[in-house]
Amino acid sequence: MIALIKMEGFRLLRQSRTYYALAGVLLIEAVVLLSAYYQGNEIIDILLSQLRESFYFEGTLVNGNLITYLILNSMWFHLPLILMIVVSGLLTSEYKDRTLLTAMMQPVRKVRYLLSKYLVGILFSVIIVLLLSATSLGFSYAIFGRGDLVVLLDGLNFYEQPNAFLRIVLAFAAGTFSMVFYSVTSLTLAVIFKDVTKTWIVSVLFIVISNLLMKIDFGSGFLNNVFYFKLNQSWQFFFYPDIPWSQIILKTSLIVLYTTLMTLLGLFLFKTKDID
């Protein structure tokens, strides 16, 4: 199994699309960083407009923490897209190059073979989120400095530097679970569709539909809590003054469950289907 994981890791590192994805993440981050700077000023103006009647503002709120928070908001849409393209490529490229047939002629179990791809996909997603968090915090602090983070969630909440940093790190950690879910889903879609283009199109569709469904209020608290697309915003809970840990644990556990089910589905389909 370890040999299979090493092989998949090697394959991932040899893929040019992996490096395109890394460059893409950094490029998107740079664009978001730039736009966040201007949007940040606009947001602060809107947020504090009512308070201007009663207060002067000493110091600035457009700082590294706010910019990273804005990056967090934006990246949870763009990042799954990149991850799904790269991770699904672990299998679709093998279908395309017909190397899968060669691999299956070797004494290797189909389930273990695919499972190693899932594990490498998960590892890759975690590494990408780590890279994203390190670079966004690093660049934001270097360019915009440190300071209080203001977040509008059931009121205006101000967090001082150490507290803001901790909440951002925890939000990245919570977001990692969603990213892993999307990566695993893309690999399962690759098992179903096999073709590179078809898998990409379906993956993009999956993300777009998930984002659209996320905005729908299903009225029932139960439904709003259990649908996978409602779970991707749990990172936002870290920006409430009192962090609702029970909600976060519940939602994270559910997303782990969905990820496991999606993996099992992929493994089952891969095992039962013939390789063309």
Binding site: Q39, E53, L70, V150, L152, G155, N163
Partner: protein, 218 residues
């Protein structure tokens, strides 16, 4: 003509006398004490208590110079109240005014006198103020000021000891407009387009300033 000049002079002297009579003598005495403050720096901490704002306690340095608005220096972000930091009530006494007595009371063993300050000049930026004077200790205990542009606010002064003229704590109560707040800003389900609507109701907000370590500034 002579009669006209006599009437005019008489009227002017009458107005002048009325003006002098109309200003409360205890207030004048306190004003004289306050006028002796040229400036100071002090350490301060600020707490904001507004129901839709959650902000940790902030610390900084308070700088006050006579004739200039109070400044707060801090490394953090701070909401500095626009009103209530006029330690010598300069803005209140800047233009001519009259005072009207509104009674007296005893609070914690101190004799307090309540007066209304009404500006007689259009240039004043307040319409009416209610001052509670501690006539035992010759200092301001409370002020309620209705401004023309910034609403009304209530300032309560607490002092370290009987002789202190500068407060140890200032509590400023004011009205602040509640904003209708969406679930999140910049969340994927929230569009920020500047159309955040204001709700009609006004909320009371309180700011508490703890001031210590006064240093005289000349």
């Amino acid at each position: 003509m002579r009669a006209l000049i006599t009437i005019l002079l008489f009227s002017i002297s009458l107005i002048s006398v009325a003006q002098q009579v109309a200003i409360d003598s205890d207030l004048l005495q306190i004003k004289q004490r306050l006028d002796s403050i040229g400036g100071f720096t002090a350490d301060m901490s600020l707490e904001v208590d507004v129901n839709f704002i959650s902000m940790p306690k902030k610390t900084g340095t308070l700088i006050y110079r006579k004739g200039a608005p109070a400044e707060i220096l801090t490394d953090d972000f701070m909401l500095v109240p626009k009103k209530g930091l006029d330690f010598t009530l300069e803005q209140l006494f800047k233009y001519p005014f009259i005072t009207v007595p509104r009674g007296s009371q005893i609070r914690k063993g101190d004799s307090l006198k309540v007066i209304n300050v009404i500006p007689t000049s259009d240039k004043a930026d307040f319409s009416i103020a209610e001052l509670t004077l501690n006539i035992s200790k010759h200092r301001i205990a409370q002020s309620k000021i209705s401004t023309l542009r910034d609403g009304s606010y209530d300032v309560l002064f607490s002092y370290t000891d009987a002789l202190s003229l500068l407060p140890r704590q200032i509590t400023i109560q004011f009205e602040v407009e509640r904003i209708r707040i969406p679930l999140s800003f910049l969340g994927q389900d929230v569009k920020v387009d500047g159309k955040l609507k204001r709700s009609e109701d006004l909320k009371k907000g309180t700011i508490t300033l703890d001031i210590s370590n006064y240093r005289e500034k000349r």
